[in-house]
């Protein structure tokens, strides 16, 4: 039973538009005939995800998403594309010979997940009013990182260090 006052029209419309853009761009990422175009479509998906995070009242993660993904990771991708001499125009051979295998696998997966989600959550509503809730206090997140989750934080630091060293070792020219 859903009361009319609980339905947040503006938020739903915003979500719908952003979600549509995200799905279209995600399809473009996996279907584009041009590597650079795919990368740019990926930027749109990332930006859309950041917008969804704001809707979910996770501003800090949204900002981090913009900084790290759109700012850093995408630059890395473009460098990767450039250094491996991908053509700027369309490429004929971007897909596997048996790319069609992907369609049934993805479809089966989606059907199963959708079924499970609809079956499991039905019309469970998010707590509070989405969108105009009080923003997450960054101090709370920092306390969580440095108190209960400090061990994964350390582990993550080592992963990043190893990644930096590993990337240098792998990509070095000698």
């Amino acid at each position: 039973m859903v009361l009319a006052t609980d339905i947040q029209v503006a938020q739903n419309i915003g979500f719908g538009i952003i979600a549509a853009i995200m799905v279209l761009c995600a399809v473009a990422v996996v279907a584009a005939r041009n590597v650079v175009r795919a990368a740019l479509a990926l930027v749109m998906v990332m930006a859309g995800a950041a917008a969804q995070y704001v809707l979910l009242a996770a501003e800090f993660v949204a900002v981090t998403q913009v900084l790290v993904y759109i700012g850093a990771v995408m630059v890395l991708f473009l460098f990767g594309v450039m250094l491996t001499r991908a053509k700027l125009g369309a490429e004929a051979e971007l897909n596997n010979k048996n790319w069609a295998w992907g369609i049934p696998v993805a479809l089966v997966m989606f059907v199963v997940m959708a079924w499970a989600l609809v079956d499991g959550f039905e019309d469970t509503r998010l707590g509070g009013t989405v969108g105009d809730a009080a923003p997450q206090d960054t101090a709370v997140i920092s306390d969580l990182i440095f108190k209960p989750y400090v061990l994964p934080f350390w582990a993550l630091s080592f992963v990043l260090l190893a990644a930096v060293i590993g990337a240098i070792v792998l990509a070095r020219k000698d």
Binding site: M22, A38, W99, M113, V159, L170
Partner: protein, 99 residues
């Protein structure tokens, strides 16, 4: 708003990413598809975080972003190395694991 809106969006992105991993031949494109999958996971985490209250999901999402950055760095370094050795980054031609 319903939880399912976000969760289904995550599911769609995930499946598109899976399709990309399977269908794409270019190694850089495969890495991009993996990024799609990781983002869909983040959306799920934040939706559940919002559902249950608290901020733990935010912390996980941040960690995933950091791991993804590391993964892209190493992944692209490997792609560069493969490219340098073979002048190609087509995954079709990499079949040393053939049984």
């Amino acid at each position: 708003m319903l939880v399912n809106e976000f969760l289904l969006l995550g599911a769609i992105l995930f499946c598109i990413g899976v399709y990309g991993v399977i269908a794409r031949k270019n190694a850089v494109m495969v890495l991009m598809s993996i990024e799609l999958i990781l983002n869909s996971v983040n959306i799920n985490l934040l939706a559940f975080d919002r559902l249950h209250g608290g901020s733990d999901g935010n912390v996980f999402a941040l960690y995933i972003i950091a791991v993804a950055a590391a993964e892209v760095g190493v992944g692209l370094a490997m792609v560069l190395l493969i490219y340098r050795n073979r002048k190609s980054i087509s995954l079709d031609e990499l079949s040393e694991m053939k049984g």
